[in-house]
Subunit: 164 residues, 2 copies
Amino acid sequence: MENIGKMGNITTNFNDKTIKYKQLLEDFKSLLKINNLKFTIQREVILETLYNSDEHLTPESLHNLIQEKFPDLKTGIATVYRTLSLLEESDMVTSLSFGAQGKKYELGAKHHHDHFICKVCGTITEFVDAQIEERQHKIAEELGFDMQDHSMQIYGICKNCQNK
Amino acid sequence: MENIGKMGNITTNFNDKTIKYKQLLEDFKSLLKINNLKFTIQREVILETLYNSDEHLTPESLHNLIQEKFPDLKTGIATVYRTLSLLEESDMVTSLSFGAQGKKYELGAKHHHDHFICKVCGTITEFVDAQIEERQHKIAEELGFDMQDHSMQIYGICKNCQNK
DNA sequence: GTCGCTGCAAAGTCTTTGCAGAGAG
DNA sequence: CTCTCTGCAAAGACTTTGCAGCGAC
């Protein structure tokens, strides 16, 4: 996938992964160990597939990807759901929902960004805006809050769907 | 699991409704007439209940509210779903999700609002920041996105809890 | 009176759960 | 070995749909 680069001072399409898979995997293993859970091939495959996808995946699309890439594993959809819940509880992935369609997941640790969500086609476009980031910190400061994290979604209709 | 609506300690910086109900109702009636649809008591009650709620409502909670307030009507949940879809298609309401399961609806004509959520005590403070609003519109414009709504949450620890 | 609307219940979707065998530690 | 995990299928939760009578216009 090509890097679109910069549009104004909005950065889109990050392809540089800020977190290496190996480290992510280690984090996952630690998490499992701490909670007395087991490291299984299915869990690894789910993490890896999430990592290698640049899209926000539904449980179903993730399951399909895994079946394509690891046809011998016969990973069940139930395991995908169970693992995604586990990862979400541990803040390793975040989920977004919107419109008529279901929930979509992404690795939270990859990089920080905000989302544009098209209510028609469900496409999620990522962006980062330095001004907004900065302003958020300022607001938190003004209100005396210790800001730890944030999540922002903008809902609307994407260029493509407007033309239909 | 953000039960945003169910917490009693919400601080809000604006309580004035920017759109009068009467006007909203007229808009709704026009919409119906244009599309050869009928204005029914159920549809009015749904609009009114949405208007009078300051929360994002799920179809179920909206249905419950209506049953409480208009017990004689026996409005069916199916009608609530159907009316919400109608209103959403017509851009009179928008649906969002704060991450918990289920879709939540609110009147789109009301104001935008952002949230600061304290991870310790669960207090939710709503705020609006003109700079962020403006910046969001600019970003949407640059990306060719028809922005309809947004939702932003900042997570952290509030002043009170920091002092403990 | 016509034709859309409504409530009900049944049918779809999407997600979770129970279970018995498989497998990690 | 022990105890968790997994796939499967069944159950649950949430939405949509079909239908026959009701009601807005």
